[in-house]
């Protein structure tokens, strides 16, 4: 046979299409990943009504947190649960036996995470502005928003792919990763002001990427006067970049070491 195998670019486009259809056609994943943060925002935003100082109300504070939760859901939880499912039902094994370049599979996953993350953030911003009248970021805050989101989503995607190997199937992955994500979000100041989290829990949170993702996003949505409430008294954007980057590198090594195309 002299016909050349299809290029990586062509197969990657196919995989991206497959991943988008798999996600957006599945009601559970759309509701759980896309709409859950919106419900959180609407629910908590309506119930909790206190002033954080500098004219910042709870919805304005929570905007950073709920976007962080949306990013974690679209990357960490989404990857961990769905890849565990694809491994246990034989989808990955079938792909590994086909001439699909393995890189194309991961390109498809990245496209899916990017699309879901972008959709989640767009919906949250829309609801935030229309329902709660939150102030959108201005000027260079958009740039910070962009790089914090990209680094945070990348770190969480890689971690999600890595931890998918620990679960036996999608259900056990969901039962494991969902509480872990929620706890990390709680101690990272997603649902309540970070300075109300006990000090030792703040230290625990500081090991993980969610805290730094949320902190970077707070710098985007909160006035600089509130930076004084952060543990270091500043947004620590340099540290945010370093910690998230380190988690990206660590996640990449974990993926390379643990990724399996079939059940043992």
């Amino acid at each position: 046979m002299t016909t050349a195998l299809p290029s990586l670019g062509r197969v990657s486009r196919t995989r991206a299409g497959v991943e988008l259809k798999e996600f957006f056609r599945q009601r559970e994943s759309v509701v759980f990943t896309l709409l859950f943060p919106v419900i959180l925002l609407l629910g908590l935003g309506a119930v909790l009504d206190y002033d954080l100082g500098s004219g910042v109300d709870f919805p304005q504070y929570f905007m950073a947190g709920v976007i962080a939760a949306g990013i974690v859901g679209a990357s960490l939880q989404n990857m961990a649960i769905h890849i565990a499912g694809e491994r246990s039902d034989g989808t990955l094994k079938a792909l590994a036996g086909s001439p699909m370049p393995k890189t194309a599979y991961f390109v498809g996953k990245v496209v899916q995470v990017v699309a879901v993350t972008a959709a989640t953030i767009a919906i949250l911003l829309l609801v935030g502005v229309l329902v709660f009248g939150i102030d959108l970021p201005s000027g260079t805050d958009w740039l910070t928003f962009a790089w914090v989101t990209v680094l945070g989503a990348a770190a969480c995607t890689l971690l999600g792919i890595a931890v998918s190997s620990l679960a036996r199937n999608a259900r056990s992955a969901s039962a494991t990763i969902t509480p872990i994500a929620l706890v990390l979000e709680f101690i990272s100041g997603v649902f309540m002001p970070f300075d109300q989290v006990p000090g030792w829990l703040q230290d625990v949170a500081a090991v993980f990427p969610v805290k730094w993702l949320a902190q970077g996003l707070r710098s985007v949505f909160l006035p600089d006067s509130l930076a004084a409430s952060e543990p270091a008294g500043s947004w620590e954007l340099g540290t945010v970049a370093v910690v998230l980057s380190v988690w990206c590198v660590a996640g990449l090594f974990l993926c390379a070491a643990t990724f399996r195309w079939q059940d043992r």
Binding site: M1, T3, A4, L5, P6, R10, V11, T14, R15, G17, V18, K21, E22, R25, Q26, G85, E86, D89, G90, T91, K93, A94, A96, G97, S98, P99, M100, P101, Q262
Partner: protein, 297 residues
């Protein structure tokens, strides 16, 4: 009773045959201390349908998965379409079709979308709609993968296995869970693939399936190939004595004979009319299979 034939036990010193679809010499696979495959030799010719039989745990799936490139081996030589599966790249995989036991997972994609995606991984795929026609799923082209019945799903698995125009197709217990009619339809599909020149390695628990489809069958027992033969000759079936049974004076009688025709003629002369309840039988594939795998255990 194990009869070794030349085909079953090539000399370990002879190299694998690069012209064969699959050629295995002295294959060894261990899990911990236990050798699941323990010096297995096998040649599968191009264009044939070969059925691999054996009880669970005999090393059947392990052997097949080593050939498919899913598992590493601990010893021996393997060539699949002339290539060592441990080193097979994309172009080698493009010549294989694999229908796994687990089958395709739950998908939100339609049957046609799944086939089109699978086809896009290959250099010279079949037309997805032609493949749907071949496996009888044209009516279901727009249905989501997860809504199919068990038999339809298995036919989709086969469609996904053949859409890349494989030269060698692996079928791992393809009809498990089928009702008798679905199995007949599936067999017809396999025969039509044979017409297209596809070599097939079939593993199955159903001996009638092996007898119906396979040009040759091999029996794996305790990690080795006990015998390879055409289905009608396995375990000496072709030359085994026949058993003639009849009823005389209300008692069921049996006689073993190498010349059943002469025996029945004699019997006929002995009775005034029809011989009551006359039957002539030879060992079934199941009989010889059970003898082989039960040997020594």
């Amino acid at each position: 009773m194990i009869r070794s034939t030349a085909a079953a036990s090539p000399q370990h010193s002879s190299p694998p045959d690069p012209e064969a679809a699959i050629s295995i010499r002295g294959l060894v696979k261990r899990y911990g201390d236990r050798a699941v495959v323990d010096g297995l030799d096998l040649d599968i010719h191009r264009g044939e349908i070969f059925a691999l039989l054996g009880p669970n745990g005999a090393g059947k799936t392990t052997t097949v998965e080593i050939c498919e490139g899913y598992r590493d081996r601990d010893g021996g030589e393997v060539r699949v379409l002339g290539v060592d599966p441990a080193k097979g790249g994309r172009s080698w995989k493009a010549d294989l079709g694999i229908v796994l036991q687990s089958g395709a997972g739950d998908s939100q994609l339609s049957v046609r979308e799944l086939l089109t995606a699978q086809a896009s991984y290959f250099a010279d795929p079949r037309d997805p709609d032609e493949v749907l026609e071949l496996v009888g799923l044209t009516d279901k082209a727009g249905a989501r993968g997860r809504t199919l019945s068990g038999g339809q799903r298995r036919r989709l698995d086969v469609a996904l296995g053949i859409v890349g125009r494989p030269r060698l197709l692996f079928l791992d217990e393809p009809t498990t869970g089928f009702d008798p009619e679905a199995r007949r339809q599936f067999w017809a599909l396999i025969r039509s693939l044979r017409e297209l020149g596809t070599t097939m390695l079939l593993t199955t628990h159903y001996l009638d399936e092996a007898e119906e489809l396979a040009d040759r069958v091999g029996v794996i027992a305790r990690g080795q190939l006990a015998e390879v033969a055409v289905p009608t000759a396995l375990g000496g079936r072709g030359t085994a004595p026949a058993v003639v049974s009849w009823t005389e004076d209300g008692v069921r009688r049996h006689a073993e004979t190498a010349t059943p025709t002469a025996f029945v003629a004699e019997l006929a002369a002995h009775f005034p009319g029809e011989v009551p309840d006359l039957a002539v039988s030879r060992p079934s594939l199941e009989d010889v299979y059970l003898t082989m795998i039960g040997d020594g255990s």
